[in-house]
Subunit: 135 residues, 2 copies
């Protein structure tokens, strides 16, 4: 049911400074930029093969990701896996007692529906499971 | 020069417990198991599309990864990118003043040559760059 590692999200405190490494030093090409007001973040994506690296800078001081950066410093934030049939996966994960941050999928950008599994149910990794919704 | 996200390594304190999540709960298939005595780790890999997730359990208490787990708890440890022409990349990264953990590539398993860039040069992410060596 898991098809692909869609992206690895890296929390940064300064997106321009992070871009100077990933874009200018490593030579990766930014394929998407987006400020997501609802999540209080500014983001940049690099496509590498079938996966992406997402840099995420919090734009306010009181979001979850802002607190993450304050506490841990810039570092890897979550892994996003593309799945088939998210709805049945949610039922299965709930029946196994996993701690989901949301069990009603968030409608994300570009026709994505996503849930997050808390690190205390995965062995320390914040995990996003998402399904593409063709429309 | 960067071709693929080869793997995301997750440091765990108990490989069997971690397998019970990634393999049994998520349904991923273990595609490789290896104890690497030189690095004092026990590992398991899951292939997902063109990338892999690697679970790494330290088997002694005084390796770098053992100290990482002691300090931070089980969590994402590094990202490995497959590159072309690692040698010229090393020269370029050194000329830019980046902190490489090794500038002579380590000969890894399966014909891989790898270097690591310290998180203080990448914005908080331990980064492995590796090149496949066809033989």
């Amino acid at each position: 049911m898991i098809k692909n590692i869609d992206h690895i999200a890296i929390a940064v405190s300064d997106l321009e400074e992070a871009l100077s490494f990933w874009r200018d030093t490593l030579g990766l090409k930014v394929t998407h930029r987006e400020k997501v007001l609802s999540q209080q973040v500014d983001t940049a994506f690099f496509e590498i093969g079938a996966s992406k690296i997402e840099l995420v800078e919090p734009t306010t001081e009181d979001s979850g990701i802002a607190r993450f950066v304050q506490k841990k410093g810039p570092s890897m934030h979550h892994i996003a896996l593309e799945v088939e049939d998210l709805s049945s996966m949610i039922l299965e994960l709930k029946s196994k007692g996993l701690h989901l941050l949301n069990d009603v999928p968030i409608d994300g950008a570009a026709g994505k529906r996503a849930i997050f599994i808390h690190p205390n149910s995965t062995g320390g990794v914040l995990l996003e499971l998402y399904e593409s919704v063709d429309s």
